[in-house]
């Protein structure tokens, strides 16, 4: 996908000023997600569980080469076709080959953030494939021509009224259709797509090395259908999704579901080992099962001595739900497929700091994200790491850097500090409102009235 993260400030400002209803919808949805998450962990030793999950994912990442090879071997034994892709272009080539070989005209797709990373939808459409997003939220934003706004709830920024208007225009439902009627209208369109598609596309929440299983969590049943009804299934899996053992899977299914939506486990879980027709003569299921193991910047992130810990992420979205900055705008302000705190540390690692530089600064560093992360990614620490690197590489705003340099000089030289104090005490308000850095902070705030004398002068006169 195209990356617009450098425009974060303008995009955020535009959303807050022009579409205040987005803040309302996103805040309400994320608060509900978080309330459910809290309740789901009530009767568990959450810290011990998080430490265990962190340990398993860190173990998998530090043994990634052997586990990837083990997973590949198991998948091949069961008749899957395994592809390795370094870049988005490599993934596109695999699809191009499958589409040409099988004459694919129609495809159904389950929600996959990785597919957003690599711009899969526009590529397939350019190949002449009619593509249907089948997750209801993804279907809504596909009709709107928007990217997802949240990892778990792609359309949380849209209200019922928005969907009523959209479906009236596109599907002919009444203006005041209920959510049930709207869902029924989408079901009609998508059911036909499921039954006539040649190709089903999914992501993968986990890849179990021991058994070569791809595990997928969902609530609607569209992933079950996308992966079992068409004659070809292609799963896009990031190489960091590996779990070592079959016995690790049950806990990760639960931890991810609880962290995402507060459910004991998603309503549907698909654990896929191979194509239906080759394993024990099953009555239906895909004739071909392809797994594409995707790098797309992950090995670069793995090589990073500090930021590699972000690869433990299970994409539950819990850090977005508690982030006071994300709640103001939703995901579109971030201009990148992954938004919120996790997007701010994964984005620079996957596509480079130059492309995503404002994102690590889009945080109050309150620490709520680290507190809820089920695999204990030290998000605030990594935000600091990327900020520091941005400053070192000269990627931050020049005026801001100069002011911080001046500030650093002032606070380390008492005499200079005294002069700055005097200057700030007499500077007119209209000037301070226009100073770089202070300009944003001052907008929407009443500045305190300047007393005319500095604290130091008052102190020397003797403060009671």
């Amino acid at each position: 996908m195209e990356i617009h993260s450098r425009d974060y400030r303008q995009r955020a400002r535009h959303i807050i000023q022009e579409t205040p209803e987005v803040r309302e919808a996103v805040t309400a949805a994320t608060q509900t997600f978080d309330d459910h998450r809290r309740a789901a962990f009530d009767d568990l030793d959450r810290d011990a569980l998080r430490r265990w999950a962190e340990g398993v994912k860190s173990h998998a990442l530090t043994h990634l080469e052997e586990y990837l090879q083990e997973a590949e071997a198991r998948l091949l034994e069961r008749g899957a076709q395994v592809h390795w892709a370094e870049t988005a272009s490599d993934v596109h080539q695999v699809f191009q080959h499958i589409v040409a070989k099988h004459g694919v005209r129609r495809a159904v797709k389950a929600k996959s953030m990785l597919s957003e990373e690599i711009g899969l939808n526009p590529f397939l459409e350019a190949c002449g494939v009619e593509l249907f997003e089948t997750d209801l939220g993804e279907y809504i934003i596909q009709l709107l021509g928007e990217p997802p706004s949240h990892i778990v709830g792609p359309a949380i920024h849209r209200s019922l009224e928005d969907v009523q208007g959209l479906f009236h225009d596109r599907l002919g439902t009444p203006f005041d259709a209920s959510p049930e009627e709207l869902a029924k209208a989408a079901r009609r369109v998508l059911r036909d797509a499921f039954l006539t598609a040649d190709l089903g596309i999914s992501g993968g929440n986990f890849l179990v090395a021991e058994t070569g299983s791809i595990a997928l969590i969902e609530n609607e049943g569209n992933i079950r259908m996308s992966t079992s009804l068409p004659r070809i299934h292609v799963a896009l899996v990031g190489i960091e999704k590996v779990l070592p053992r079959w016995a690790d899977l049950p806990t990760f299914l639960q931890v991810t579901s609880k962290s995402a939506t507060g459910q004991p486990v998603g309503t549907f879980v698909s654990i896929i080992q191979g194509p239906g027709c080759l394993v024990g003569q099953e009555p239906d299921g895909p004739e071909e099962f392809h797994v594409i193991l995707v790098d797309c910047g992950r090995t670069r992130l793995l090589a990073d001595p500090e930021a590699w810990e972000a690869l433990r992420c299970v994409r539950c979205g819990a850090c977005l739900n508690v982030c006071p900055v994300y709640r103001q705008t939703g995901g579109h302000a971030y201009g990148y497929v992954y938004s919120g705190p996790i997007g701010a540390i994964i984005g620079p690692g996957l596509v480079g700091l130059g492309e995503t530089v404002p994102l690590p600064f889009a945080s109050s560093l309150c620490g709520a994200c680290e507190e809820v992360c089920p695999v204990r990614i030290p998000i605030p620490k990594l935000l600091h790491v990327w900020r520091q690197r941005a400053v070192e590489r000269g990627l931050t705003d020049g005026a801001e850097r100069s002011i911080l340099d001046l500030w650093a000089a002032a606070v380390t030289h008492p005499r200079l500090f005294g002069w700055v104090e005097k200057l700030m005490a007499i500077i007119p308000e209209w000037v301070s409102r226009r100073l770089p850095m202070l300009r944003d902070w001052n907008s929407g705030r009443e500045l305190p009235v300047v007393e005319g004398r500095t604290f130091r002068e008052l102190w020397e006169e003797g403060i009671e």
Binding site: D43, L44, D45, W52, G55, S58, H59, L61, H63, L68, Q69, A85, D90, T134, L136, I140, G153, A155, L160, P179, E180, L182, A183, S213, N219, E220, G221, N222, R224, M225, S228, I239, P244, W246, A247, P250, T251, L253, Q254, P264, V265, G266, T267, F268, V269, I271, Q273, G274, G276, L278, G280, E282, P283, D284, G285, D295, T299, L302, A303, P305
Partner: protein, 208 residues
């Protein structure tokens, strides 16, 4: 192309981890971390009760049938609501409703047999050896479940499946649902909007 990419990706992974201290696998999840609900062994009354509670909490329906005769009587009455059925291949003859057969995409009712269930999450385990379509396409899904196949934890339920995995092992833990329209829950979005777990078999006592 793929083989060269494979070599380069694995090479970069190796290089990235070369000087990194390896992290040991922490082993099984410590028992103290599991919920304090006293899940019993497979089929015991406490496991079955916990499964019923959680499956219902997620919107599923449960029928408890203590012997096959009562199962057949219940089935006859239940099936009278429907006009057609799609039955998975593993369903025994005497647990198939006496209804006209229809393709899964048209049938009013789908019937299948679970290979297991987990009380901890209120999940039915379904195998693709039964066929996917009857489990997914009809608006109502009836799942037969033997009482001795109700496990306590999800880990116990999955552990026994590892050696003989089908192409797809699925967990169904309630009706299809979505909150993507204005954060309001709707059911039956893609998969069945009604799912009924019919648990058959005698009371096996508690696991204590």
């Amino acid at each position: 192309m793929s083989q060269e990419a494979r070599k380069r990706i694995l090479g970069r992974v190796r290089d990235a981890n070369r000087d990194r201290e390896t992290v040991a696998h922490p082993g099984p999840l410590p028992e103290a971390v599991e919920p304090p609900v006293p899940f019993g062994k497979a089929g015991r009354t406490d496991s079955v009760g916990a499964f019923e509670d959680r499956f219902r909490a997620a919107g599923g329906e449960v029928v408890r049938l203590f012997e096959e005769g009562s199962a057949q009587r219940w089935l006859k009455e239940f099936a009278s609501e429907f006009e057609s059925v799609a039955v998975c291949i593993g369903v025994p003859d005497d647990l198939q409703p006496d209804l006209p057969a229809a393709p899964s995409s048209d049938a009013a009712l789908g019937v299948s047999v679970a290979v297991g269930a987990a009380a901890q999450t209120g999940s039915l385990l379904l195998s693709s050896r039964e066929g996917h379509q009857s489990q997914l396409l009809p608006p109502v899904h009836l799942v037969w479940l033997r009482v001795q196949d109700v496990y306590g934890t999800l880990g116990d339920a999955l552990e026994g499946r590892r050696e003989n995995l089908p192409a797809t092992l699925a967990l169904h833990s309630g009706p299809s649902k979505s909150a993507d329209i204005g954060q309001m829950i709707v059911t039956g979005v893609h998969g069945p909007g009604r799912i009924i777990a019919a648990i058959v078999g005698p009371d096996m006592g508690t696991g204590v």
